[in-house]
Subunit: 109 residues, 2 copies
Amino acid sequence: MTNTESLENVAQELRRGVIVLAVLSQLSSEQYGYSLLKLLSDQGLEVDQGTLYPLLRRLETQGYLQSVWKLEEARPRRYYVISAEGKKVLPKLKKEWAGIVSMMEKMLS
Amino acid sequence: MTNTESLENVAQELRRGVIVLAVLSQLSSEQYGYSLLKLLSDQGLEVDQGTLYPLLRRLETQGYLQSVWKLEEARPRRYYVISAEGKKVLPKLKKEWAGIVSMMEKMLS
DNA sequence: CATGATACTGTGTTATACACAGTATGTCAA
DNA sequence: TTGACATACTGTGTATAACACAGTATCATG
C-alpha cells in the first residue's frame, strides 16, 4: 500500500460517514440509483456504485427509504424516496451532524 | 432492534468517520489511551474503549502514530504521539474535512 | 478493605464498504 | 449499422473495522 493510497483510505473513512446523511437528505425528491449517483457527484460526493446500491437496499430494509419499480419509462428503474420513518430521523441526524461539526471546529482550532 | 437503537446506529456512523481525525489532531501532545479517551469525551466525542484501543494500534501500524511504554510512572502506560507521517497527513485530512463540511452545508440547506 | 476509577490486552461476531462480475438497454457518432 | 460508451441494475465474495465482551491488574478513597 502506497502512502497516497493510505491517505486516500483515511480520507475515505471521513467521507463514508456522511454518505447516509447525504443520501437521506437528497431523497426528499424521488431518485433512482443512477440519478442519485450523479446528483451526489455533482455536489462533490463521489460514491461508488458498489457502495450506493447496497446502501439504498440497506436503508430500505431499515425502513428509512421506500422504493418502487417504474416500468413505464424507457428503461425500468427503481425509484427511491425517503419514508415517513426517514423523515422523522433526518432532522435528528442533521442536528447530530451540526453537533459534530461544531465539536470538530473546536477540536481542530 | 428498536427505533431509537436504529437511529443511534446511523448517528454512530456519522461520528465514526471523525474519530480518526479527532485522534490524530489530539495526539500532537502525547497521550495514553485512557487520557485520550477522557480528552475526547470532554470535548463531546464519546468513544468506546473497545473502539479506541484497537484504533490506536491500527494507526500505529499504518505509521501515523508512534508509541512508547513508560514504566517509570506509578502505573505502566503506553503513550501515543503523532508520527512524522501523521504530521504530513493531518493537514490534508483537515482540508478534506473542511471540504466535506462545506459540501454538506450546501446539501442540507 | 471494598468499591470504583484507571489502564490495558485480546478474541469473536457482525456489519459494511468495496471490488468485481455480470446483464442489458439506450444513445450517438463514424 | 455497428461499435463504443453511458446508463441502470443485481449479486457475490472478501477484507476491514467497530464493538461487545471478557479478562487482568493497579490505584485511590471513603
